[in-house]
């Protein structure tokens, strides 16, 4: 049952990821990417990472994709003003990505046997255990990431401001 669910979610995820790349209209690409993100959130639920699933939906589907849609509408890219790329480059891109996939699968194929599984599975995905690790072991990186977000906000405002603004 879970395995069938996994197959279904994986098929849906890879299909919508391919449609992100191959659809002509950027707005359709964004919508397919939202489907991909929901599928990945469902995978997190399947892996018992409930907290991350919720955060993933809020951050990616809620914030990042809205930002993408907003920028696409701001730049008025909904018409098919897609720059044309030569067939040679498309062919080369497909071959390179296929070779990368081949290398990744070939490298990671035997990883399963090298690992030692922990004996007692505990609930690590819930807020309680995750928060304990986050605020004890990873306290300093957590604080530093707040500085990163502040710097990103200042940078985005600086870059987005019109250049010849009236003094």
């Amino acid at each position: 049952m879970t395995l069938n669910l996994f197959y279904f979610l994986s098929f849906l995820g890879i299909l919508s990821a391919l449609l992100v790349v191959f659809s002509k209209n950027p707005v359709h690409s964004v919508l397919y990417l939202i489907i991909t993100f929901f599928v990945i959130a469902a995978h997190y639920v399947l892996l018992n990472a409930q907290f991350l699933a919720i955060v993933h939906v809020i951050v990616y589907a809620g914030a990042i994709m809205v930002l993408f849609l907003y920028v696409i509408m701001l730049l008025n890219l909904n018409q098919e003003a897609e720059p044309h790329k030569s067939n040679l480059i498309r062919f080369a891109a497909t071959i390179s990505a296929g070779l990368l996939l081949l290398v990744l699968v070939g490298t990671l194929k035997g990883t399963d046997q090298m690992l030692v599984q922990s004996a007692a599975p505990v609930e690590v995905g819930l807020v309680k255990s995750l928060g304990r690790v986050l605020f004890k072991e990873y306290m300093l990186p957590f604080e530093i990431s707040s500085i990163l977000l502040l710097a990103a906000m200042v940078g985005a405002v600086m870059l987005g401001k019109p250049e010849n603004i009236k003094k």
Partner: protein, 105 residues
């Protein structure tokens, strides 16, 4: 060797590798800068999925904390990247990355 739900870890490795390769394909295949950004997000998510799978597999919460940090960095990256994209559109009236070849030797 399987996760708690009876799904072999290898399946997650293959799924993540496929999603990552699709992201690389999109970066190489498209010329629209916004689509390239979305494909970079796709690659980040492939890595996140694999981190969560290993975290579940080992019953270790550190992997999920890393995913949390990756999400924070991705949000910052998207905000700055889209601001750069808007500025680029304002100056060149296009999002075609081949226009931006002034730094090319």
């Amino acid at each position: 060797m399987k996760t708690a739900q009876g799904i072999p870890l290898d399946y997650y490795i293959w799924l993540s590798a496929a999603l990552f390769a699709i992201g690389v394909l999109g970066v190489l295949y498209r010329r629209n800068a916004i689509i390239i950004f979305m494909c970079i997000e796709l690659m980040l998510n492939a890595v996140n999925l694999l981190l969560v799978a290993f975290s579940n597999y080992y019953s270790d919460a550190s992997g999920q904390v890393f995913v949390f940090f990756i999400m924070a960095v991705a949000a910052a990256e998207v905000a700055v990247g889209l601001a750069i994209l808007i500025m680029m559109y304002r100056n060149t009236k296009t999002t075609d990355i081949n226009i931006l070849n002034k730094l090319k030797w």
